[in-house]
Amino acid sequence: MTKAILPPTDSRPARSGGRGFATFDDPGVPLLTDAAGNPDFVAIRDSEDFQELRRRWTIFVLPVTCGFLAWYLGYVALSAYAPTFMSTEVYGVLNIGLIFGLLQFVTTITLTLSYARYARRRLDPQVAAVRALTSEDRT
């Protein structure tokens, strides 16, 4: 089976050694790890990179989740409480309710693909940037 490998990233490189000792060739920020090389989670959480990751995740997921829940529950509520409206025929015997129902499929697939794309482009590189703060990806 394949193990996925992290995509290349243009952010901070991970360096070898426990706590990152700054050298002249390697002027990056120090690793957020303790003396034993274990990640310092509080420092990572408060780091700019992690806050940025969380911000990127929230601005996509929160509105989309609220949106799809409202759209789905609204659709169910319309079917339950406004059956006459939903029975209005639009195209042949296809009525508004059936068309809205099929649209639920369309929106679900669209949102699924857009999240996958967003995660690949905006979240994964940022995850890599946060992981580069630790000695995590060193073999």
């Binding site: 193990k3 990640p39 989740t65 789905y72 699924t112 999240y115 992981r131």
Partner: protein
């Protein structure tokens, strides 16, 4: 249906069982560690696991039940299936990646991450066991009913034998193959199922000149309901209580799916969060295609078989898809559809058995009884013993409720998952102050209220379709408790946290937050 079909049905089914058992045997022969048994060594790829996820999720209730429900209730049956498609967005965006990053084998790993291990793990295991058993018993009873329909087995004894055979095969899958073998069963079954419904759908659409509208028109002409079958309100219309009941069901379906224990456990069979995300994308595609096809099959069976013939057939609305298959493809196609339906039941119960055994062995035995110091070999032994015990319980339960209307157990499983699991997962991931006490309140509040409300609902007593039709102790008007129990569990979690003096461990909380988002500290990459 004649006895000639029985031979075809049985042989197609036997071939399926033999092939899958061989695959399971080959896949599982190197099963050695706990990680292999519980999570297939996390070695599956996203697409493989995605197909298996859809296999785990699409039960016989969705195949026969939904297509039948569409054939009989029309629009309202279709509405049911939409919730199951939409719900995967929640699994995709919020649950799958975080779960993969935080836990190892069970839901208990995640919930107990920053809490006191023993009480939280015990509670998580309780929920998993209750949901798995309810869901499994409903599936087993379904197997009995299906037999009556497909193999002309009408005696209670004969159906009991069928249920026992299903139970034995499912335990064999789990014991021989562990998670790896079971996953391959899911993959084979999901591919067969989706292939089967897709071909049927293309055929049906072709018969009506690829016009959905003309198919729907013929369907409404052949329904006793007439054009009303295409409009909302057949099943859930009429009274305000019915409408509210439907909203409640919809809420449980959309929030519960991604929290079902056997679905959650699938996220551990992939190596990292990105693969977990890919698996949900694949599962969503499979499931969306599947339910679009059931829409066509449901209305197609209405158009070609007619609602009268469907409701008069043994097995009632569950027989819509098999009757349609017989109508368009004769005994052979019927045999294939029946075998696929059986494969579906078998695979779903195997997944549930594995989940229940993992939850008991990993959470209760290793962490509660042995306080985290269990010998891995012993833990595996306990897991296998639990699988056998769960199998026996499911066979017994399935035989006991055979013939009862237990469809509500499936909906109840979703309501339980949404009430007990969703609130605790969300709180422990996103609410800093959330603590052990809050976790316990949320889990037991959701679980308890859900079960209590269902006991005092019309599903148990008071109406003709209840389990106890002759007595009436139903004071809760809805058949689906979700609309009350889901918010209640969130409220319980909040109050339990606020009212306890216990402080959340800020370092553990930071660790969980970072790990859930990035996988740092989990050893995954």
């Amino acid at each position: 249906m004649t006895s000639g079909n029985t031979v075809i049905n049985l042989s197609v089914f036997a071939v399926f069982v033999l092939i899958t058992l061989y695959v399971v045997y080959r896949a599982g022969s190197r099963n050695a560690t706990a990680s292999d048994y519980y999570a297939a060594g996390s070695s599956f790829t996203g697409p493989q696991n995605g197909v298996a996820l859809s296999g785990d999720f699409l039960s016989a209730a969705s195949f026969l039940g939904i297509s039948g429900s569409i054939a009989v209730n029309g629009y309202d049956g279709f509405l049911y299936s939409i919730g199951w498609v939409v719900s995967w967005l929640l699994g995709l965006m919020i649950i799958s990646e975080r779960l993969r990053n935080t836990g190892r084998f069970t839901l208990g790993d995640v919930l107990a991450f920053r809490m006191k291990q023993r009480p939280v793990r015990a509670a998580a295991a309780n929920v998993t066991l209750v949901i798995s058993l309810f869901y499994m018993i409903a599936q087993m009873a379904g197997a009995g009913a299906l037999m009556a329909l497909l193999l002309d087995v009408h005696t209670k004894g004969g159906q009991a034998i069928v249920i026992a055979v299903v139970g034995v095969v499912m335990v064999l899958y789990v014991l021989l193959g562990g998670m790896k073998g079971t996953t391959w069963v899911q993959i084979i079954k999901a591919v067969l199922l989706v292939l089967c419904v897709t071909l049927l759908t293309v055929f049906l659409l072709g018969k009506f000149g690829f016009s959905l509208s003309s198919l729907l028109e013929t369907a409404s002409e052949n329904s006793t309901l007439g054009p009303e079958v295409l409009q909302p309100g057949v099943r859930y219309g009429g009274s305000p209580t019915n409408s509210l009941d439907f909203l409640s069901l919809a809420l449980a379906l959309v929030l519960g799916t991604a929290c079902l224990p056997h679905v959650l456990m699938r996220f551990y069979t992939v190596p990292n969060a990105r693969e977990a995300r890919r698996s949900v994308v694949w599962a969503t595609w499979m499931i969306a295609v599947f339910y679009l096809c059931t829409l066509v099959i449901g209305f197609g069976s209405l158009a070609l078989v007619g609602s009268k013939a469907i409701s008069e057939a043994p097995g009632g609305e569950n027989s819509a898809a098999p009757l349609l298959a017989f109508r368009v493809g004769g005994a052979v196609l019927l045999g294939i559809v029946c075998a696929v339906a059986f494969a579906t039941i078998l695979a779903v119960v195997a997944g549930l058995t594995l989940t229940a055994s993992a939850s008991f062995a990993h959470d209760v035995y290793a962490n509660v009884i042995k306080r985290g110091k269990a010998d891995p070999k012993e833990e595996l032994k306990v897991a296998r013993l639990t699988a056998v015990a769960v199998g026996v319980l499911a066979i017994g339960g399935g035989i006991a409720v055979n013939g009862q209307n237990v469809a509500f157990l499936v909906a109840l499983a979703f309501a339980l998952a949404a009430s007990a699991n969703l609130s605790t997962i969300l709180y422990s991931l996103f609410w800093k102050r959330f603590n052990t006490n809050g976790t316990l309140w949320a889990i037991y509040g959701g679980l308890g209220s859900c079960i209590l409300l269902i006991v005092f609902s019309p599903a148990m007593s008071g109406t003709r379709s209840s389990i106890f039709p002759d007595v009436d102790f139903a004071w809760f008007p809805l058949g689906n408790p979700g609309i009350v129990s889901i918010p209640l569990s969130f409220l319980c979690g909040y109050l339990g946290t606020v009212f306890s003096k216990e402080q959340a461990d800020p370092e553990k909380q930071a660790e969980m937050e970072v790990r859930a988002m990035t996988g740092i500290g989990s050893g995954l990459r």
